[in-house]
Symmetry: C2
Subunit: 340 residues, 2 copies
Amino acid sequence: MSDVRRPNFENNITADDVAEAAGVSRWTVNRAFKKDASISPKTRTKVMEAASKLGYVPDLRAAALASDRSNLVALLVDDFANPHKLVMMERLTRILRKHGWDTLLVNTLDRDDAGHAILNASQRRVDAAILIGIQFDDEVLETALHARRFHKLIIFARTSRHPDTISIAVDDAAAMQEIAAYVAEQGYRRPLFLAGPRTYSAHLLRKETFLGCWERRFGTVPEFAEVPAYDPILAEQVVTRILTDRPRDEMPDILVCENDALAIGAIDVIRHKLGLRIPEDIAVTGFDDVPQCQSPNYALTTYRQPLTEMAEYLVEVLESSEDRDFDRAFKGKLVPRASA
Amino acid sequence: MSDVRRPNFENNITADDVAEAAGVSRWTVNRAFKKDASISPKTRTKVMEAASKLGYVPDLRAAALASDRSNLVALLVDDFANPHKLVMMERLTRILRKHGWDTLLVNTLDRDDAGHAILNASQRRVDAAILIGIQFDDEVLETALHARRFHKLIIFARTSRHPDTISIAVDDAAAMQEIAAYVAEQGYRRPLFLAGPRTYSAHLLRKETFLGCWERRFGTVPEFAEVPAYDPILAEQVVTRILTDRPRDEMPDILVCENDALAIGAIDVIRHKLGLRIPEDIAVTGFDDVPQCQSPNYALTTYRQPLTEMAEYLVEVLESSEDRDFDRAFKGKLVPRASA
DNA sequence: TCCCGTTTTGCACGCGCGTGCAAAAAATTC
DNA sequence: GAATTTTTTGCACGCGCGTGCAAAACGGGA
């Protein structure tokens, strides 16, 4: 009985079937699907026609298994309250796809399960893990490194000094210096820095840089506050707590925020709970240039990272087989708007 | 020479190695890693110890290849401007992971490349494809269906009548009726419906339902406008265009929006470009209950979908081997806030 | 037409695990 | 303690493709 050889789901057509139909060997079929393989154009079209007639598509699982290269990366995210993540995901998936890479989205928000999530990604034998703006990155980083299964561990859009890690980010120090200079030039003198959560392994150097710049320039260290996550709602709570009922003459004249997620929360509170005007009473700056910054509602002065360029470099790193230091810091661009 | 048998990247330890270390057969090792497999507890712990000593993790690629079941789904997204997508991605990935499923994030925003993206997902032999709120879904749907490689094609959070498709969504008609009733009860009489892009295959029944309800109740069909994507920025443009310089007595008293992405753009324009108050001059309602709705800035009256419940059902569908009609509509919840 | 260099094609073996069944071991019964 | 049942373990074969090399086909010059 010939229908015995059909153990798998709905008679999958394989390269063998195409080979038979095209009158060539299986290996020639697979060659036809491979860029710059040594194959004659004539054979290739013959194979491709047979393939499309049969509806054949190469099986990437088998290819990955045989070659130990999956063209798959795991994207670890735990920071879904930050609108910038949406932008990053869009950009990364698009550019990775353009270069033939697929993306496994791993939600590491649930700290208890982060380990499992990472383990699972490693079981898929992804070629690399990419951490984007991870909030609880210390723990995750350790787990991931301990698993020792990711050929490359990339921290994207955040600086990491960890030696086993590749950091592709904007030059936070330079960026913050630029913002600090801008703030000072615009005549603000009582800044309050609104920082995000503190992590050990990977870092945004923004707070330290800003405070340092300001101190060097004016001799005083500005006030600052910390929000436990990059979440506008949490930022609202923190700003409400520290600014409500504060005497007018002790109010900051500008809130310099570590990123847009915090800035957006801050703006909402300043305007709607404190009843103050932006920028007349309190100005605000952010970081990232999320889409909402353009809204007339926020018109947020912020700093744009060259995401596309960074993603392209990421691909370069993924495809390189060298073993050098891939860390790189990019230059971004200050985007002045009405909020400061 | 024994080091010949090491063709793969950094001597991967396999089930065979663990088997040798534990003094059992390879099959017993794999059994130890499988839930409710027939294996004695004693052997299992012995195996697990050997495994963790060697740092062994089962290879899911090989497992998928051998069993033709990958526990992998492709999540197709093309609508990254809509903040609700972030919420959906978070929820879906978390709940899928909880049940042992991994997620391949496929960006189908670039229409030219959507076909490739889908093809690629199919090459990974995912068990199912999930479309979330796809904007250009007609084309994508056809491509995906044509590929005929997804065992299940699920339209999530959107209704589809396509017979080859499984639709898991909120009951849009019921939801919109509830909103319409609310709007009418609050005394609004000149609604304007702000709709998103029109698609053929999958649908949000919101516009038709609202217009129909209103007509039955008051005998008049409300005005409506269409935004070409669920993007606050585009919504701003459309609303600006249709409301700027309109005489006061022809102004709508409420904007009923197909979802929050549109509502948010509308609010920004109404307040900051038209200089009107919300809800006194124009009220606004949305749909989805994205996090920003809670912000005092928007305080958006909206409708919340039971995402968690829907995601749990999705898992149920994924794991079912029956061949019945899985379509299902859920009931959501109206969330009244200050905007209407 | 023959020869030689070049391009194109074929193939043995392996990637790591699942399936279904048979053999072995353990547990149960009388 | 022997016979029977139940649980546990082992194994042949296959999943679909990549690698590296050898064999075959091709092309051009004399």
